[in-house]
Symmetry: C2
Subunit: 122 residues, 2 copies
DNA sequence: CAGCATCCGCCGTGATACTG
DNA sequence: CAGTATCACGGCGGATGCTG
């Protein structure tokens, strides 16, 4: 979701929406918070996402300062993504969504991570 | 934003995301909570939205049980949209978004409604 | 005022294949 | 493993115009 293209600069809600929009964004943040940090891990937990999309989202998130990227110059290239404080500040939002889903949408599963089972939530 | 097309039924976060996604959805809910209830009011507060989109979103929200619609069989047709308890349950989410926007995005304006000035927030 | 119908364009997303 | 390049599709949302 996004928002008014006009004066979004004055609207905290709109601005936040702009960041969180995108089909996978929230899920990526959630999985990052859940401990997954590597590209392929996310690719697996967010099963169904294309590497392209994951890459794009991750990059956008990085530019927004929500995610930090650490590259390890090793032989088998390794990269880890972690939430920045700013990214962590988004977690309450996710908590609310989870609470809402459970309370009003009948999603009783306590492991929302079940959205993409990574072996029963790592 | 949306989510895994596969097992979203088990993921509260995904499911909620599905509802809240869409460029204007959150804003509509916010404005509804802010007191605006008529079609044209929303059209004005969400300046920039097309009647088509507003109509579509409102309908979707209604079908999801987030918004209730009251029609007044009067001469100048009047319709009022109000948040249902379920819709109200989404407010904390918006509050968090607002808080995030203010704290991390520099949106100091306390009236996020400023997103679409309806005469200085009704 | 409320809102539907139609047409159209954009962008996010998916699929697939290839590279460092 | 960790991406990037390309191609193409689909749906959301915008613009306009019409009806009840």
């Amino acid at each position: 979701m996004a928002a008014a293209t006009k004066d979004k600069t004055t609207c905290p809600v709109c601005a936040t929406a702009e960041i969180v929009c995108g089909k996978w964004t929230i899920l990526i943040i959630r999985d990052l918070a859940a401990g997954r940090s590597r590209f392929c891990e996310l690719e697996r937990s967010l099963q169904g996402i294309s590497p392209r999309t994951l890459s794009l989202r991750l990059k956008a998130l990085e530019e927004e300062g929500v995610v930090a990227r650490k590259t390890y110059p090793e032989v088998p290239p390794r990269v880890e993504y972690v939430l920045t404080p700013k990214g962590r500040a988004l977690l309450p939002l996710i908590e609310d969504m989870r609470a809402f889903g459970r309370e009003w949408l009948g999603m009783k599963g306590d492991i929302d991570t079940a959205c993409a089972p990574v072996e029963a939530a790592a």
